[in-house]
Every structure is written in C-alpha cells, then in structure tokens.
C-alpha cells in the first residue's frame, strides 16, 4: 500500500516538474516549486 502511494507521489512530482519547465509565468513556476517540497520529502520518506 505504501509503495502504491509513493508511486502516486512520484507521478505527481514528475507532472509538477514538467509544468514548471513549460510554464512561462515566473510566479506560477515559483508556486509549483513550493508545492514540490512536501511531495519530495514524502517521496523520499523523510517527512
């Protein structure tokens, strides 16, 4: 079960990363980068 949730988190992280690369508004890029932080911390099982 945990692995499935880690997998979902990985997919969301990749989608947000892709969005940051394509986005042309700096503020949106920054917001998305903030959203990445907790997702990466959970993906790596740090927090």
């Amino acid at each position: 079960m945990t692995l499935i949730y880690q997998g979902i988190t990985l997919i969301v992280v990749l989608l947000i990363g892709w969005h940051i690369l394509r986005e042309r508004r700096l503020t949106d890029q920054m917001e998305a980068a903030l959203v990445l932080l907790p997702l990466i911390l959970r993906l790596l099982m740090i927090k």
Binding site: M1, T2, Y5, G17, I20, L21, E23, R24, R25, L26, T27, D28, Q29, M30, A33, L36, L37, I40, L41, R42, L44, M45, I46, K47
Partner: protein, 386 residues
C-alpha cells in the same frame, strides 16, 4: 483583475532557465530540511540509574516489530526480594511530555527494594521522530540539572506517518470501534493489537504480549491532556483496579494532591485501561495531567510553554470557569506534572502492595511532588554527558 496584471508583468520572466534555477533551489531546500528532520530520528540519551538491573527490547516479546521504528527499549528495576510486578508505560503520546519524562525520571532515580518494575519511556518510539503538522511544536525541550542541561524530544501524537502510510479514511480497530482515519497511528486506540495489522497495532500487540509474558500485576499508562478536556488530573481505571485507584486517590488527597477516578467505560474500545485488563487480567490504570501546550486555546507554542506551562489564554479561560483544572498565574509546569505522576505511581504501588503483601512492589528514591517543587526535577535526573 490585479492578478492578471501581475501575470502579464511577470510573463516574460519565466523560462527554462528559471525553471532549472527553481529545481536547484528545491534540491537545496530539501537537502537542508532533510538534515533537520533526520536529526529527529536520533534518540536523546537516557542514563539508567542505580536501580536498573536489566534492559530489553520490546521486540523480544513479539518479533513482528523487530527492525521497525516501533521497536523500543524496556528497562527492568528488580529488587533483591521477590514480590509483584508493575509496568509504567511512558510516551504513548509523545506530545504529552510529562508521560515520557516521568518514566525517564523513574529509570534514572528509582531503586526497587522488593518486586519488579518494568518501565518503557518511549512507548511510541516512532512518534518521537516527528511533530504533528500545523501545531508549531518545538522539536526539543530542555531541563536544567545541577550539572548541565538535558535535552528531550517533543513528538507527535502518533506513529510517524513515514513509518505507517497511508491512513485509511475510517479506522475500524480490532474491537470494531470506528474512528477517524489518523487514529490508526494512535497506540491508545489500537489495543489489544493485531500481530498481522498496521505497525501501531503490532506495537500494541507487543505491549500486551509483554504484560502477559512477564505476568505483570499492575499496569500504569501515563498521559496528559489539554486543560479544557473533562478527564484530567484523573485516573481512569479498569473495573479490576477501581478500588485500588479510589483508595490511592483518597490517600493522595491527604497528601495535598487532588486527583479524580473515572471507571473505564466498557464500550470505549482500544484503550489501555480497557484492553490491557480485558486481555491479560492485569490491573490497568491510566493517569492524566494537564498540559497547556496540547490545548486548543493556547497562545504561542514555545519551549517555555512546554516547560513552564504558563499561558495567558488558559489563565483567562480558568477565570471564565471553562477549564476542568485550576489554572492560575503559575500555570501547569512540567516538573509539577511529573511530580504528580510519580507520586500517583508511588501511591498506587503502595496501595497495591498493602492489599496483596505477597505481591509487594517497594520502590525507593522516587521523588515526591514536594521534593520536586523544592529541588527542581533536574535534581532527580542524571547529569548530561560531558
């Protein structure tokens, strides 16, 4: 709209290079906060005192938690003369500091003359490795001893989610009680546990196994609650221990400690004071003291609030008659709460022993509330490592 204007202004600023720069910033931030979070995975030291005669791991009683973050240290204080056996469980809820700290004080200062005391200071070991989100808790608090400052961990209410994830939407515990999802990580809703269940249920199972295998006569679970919670400065006793708790409460009152007794409700399942008694026949009692740092009415959540327990919103609430405990300008200091817990444990052991002299558990050098008020709690803790 103003946000559209902002977007137009900043539109030209974002590109692949800013994206890569942000990726770098995210990586650096993750690295730095990871150092901070991972520092919480280390246990602050506990120094076994002169009364400690042995040590074990909880997984010695149930291998299903071996190698997991739920496994935890068990301390034995055994007297030379045979007698009964009591358990003191601290740290079920790592955001209730008097619980774990009382158990640690016991380990570092008490000596058992007769019978046996088994102490677990960090029952939910995993819970000490993270604080709860959006509560603003400090990760540590400090207690001064005569020879230096000791550091202790303030944790979250349950098992760290990185050790048990995800939570179900509704948690149905082993007794069929329906609870909110996050309660699946709450040890004190998971008894009597399940050897094949969630990590927290396996931990609960290990504790019940220990009570069974060690033939523990009297089991005491230390807790705290917010000052607006109705069951506070109280003992909650299984029906097999109500007489014991009532007698102890009367004697404590003579010593100037006000403490209530509540019978463990038969239909409130999964809690220690119910399931320990039902599953093993041990006399099960839970004790609560008042921790303002846990309460919803509190102001700034600082280390001072944890240790000194003074909060002006709680003082105001007490003036308005909204609390279940007295709460004056002196607040509810941590060493006072530890003193209450220790004197209550001491009284329960005394009353238990006088009712069943063959199963006597005689403990010495356990500080009373008065001694802690006079000398400070630090006087009864081991000096920090140099």
């Amino acid at each position: 709209m103003s946000s559209d204007r902002t977007n137009e202004k900043t539109r030209s600023y974002g590109n692949r290079w800013t994206a890569l720069g942000l990726f770098g910033a995210v990586a650096v931030t993750v690295f730095l906060v990871a150092l901070d979070f991972r520092a919480m995975w280390l246990d602050p030291p506990i120094y076994p005192g002169p009364g400690v005669t042995g040590q074990a791991r909880l997984s010695d009683y149930f291998s299903g938690i071996d190698g997991t973050a739920a496994d935890t240290d068990v301390y034995f204080l055994e007297g030379e003369e045979a007698g009964g056996t009591a358990l003191v469980l601290g740290g079920t809820h790592p955001n209730e500091p008097a619980s774990s700290l009382s158990a640690i004080t016991l380990i570092e200062s008490a000596v058992v003359a007769r019978g046996r005391l088994i102490v677990i200071p960090r029952a939910v070991h995993s819970g000490f490795t993270a604080t709860d989100p959006q509560e603003g808790y400090p990760q540590v608090y400090h207690i001064e001893t005569p020879t230096g400052v000791r550091e202790f961990r303030y944790g979250g209410r349950g098992t760290n989610p990185i050790h048990q994830w995800p939570d179900p939407v509704i948690y149905v515990n082993g007794s069929g009680q329906q609870l909110a999802g996050p309660e699946v990580r709450n040890l004190n809703r998971s008894y009597p546990g399940d050897p094949n269940g969630y990590l927290t249920e396996r931990l609960a199972f290990a504790i019940v196994e220990m009570i069974r295998q060690e033939g523990i006569d009297l089991s005491i679970d230390l807790h705290e609650a917010s000052p607006e919670y109705p069951v506070i400065n109280a003992m909650v006793a299984h029906e097999n221990a109500v007489d014991l708790a009532v007698e102890a409460a009367l004697l404590l009152e003579l010593e100037g400690i006000q403490i209530g007794v509540e019978p463990s409700p038969a239909n409130l399942r999964g809690l220690s004071h119910r399931e320990w008694g039902d599953a093993t026949g041990t006399k099960a009692i839970l004790i609560e003291s008042a921790n303002p740092a846990q309460g919803r009415l509190r102001g700034p959540t600082t280390e001072a609030l944890i240790v000194e327990g003074v909060d002006r919103y709680y003082i105001r609430a007490a003036e308005l008659g909204l609390l279940y405990v007295p709460f004056g300008k002196e607040g509810s200091p941590l060493d006072e709460r530890v003193g209450r817990h220790l004197q209550t444990v001491s009284m329960l052991l005394e009353v238990f022993s006088s009712a069943d002299p063959d199963r006597t558990i005689a403990v010495e050098h356990l500080p009373t509330l008065g001694e802690i008020r006079q000398n400070g709690l630090g006087a009864f803790l081991a000096p920090p490592e140099k």
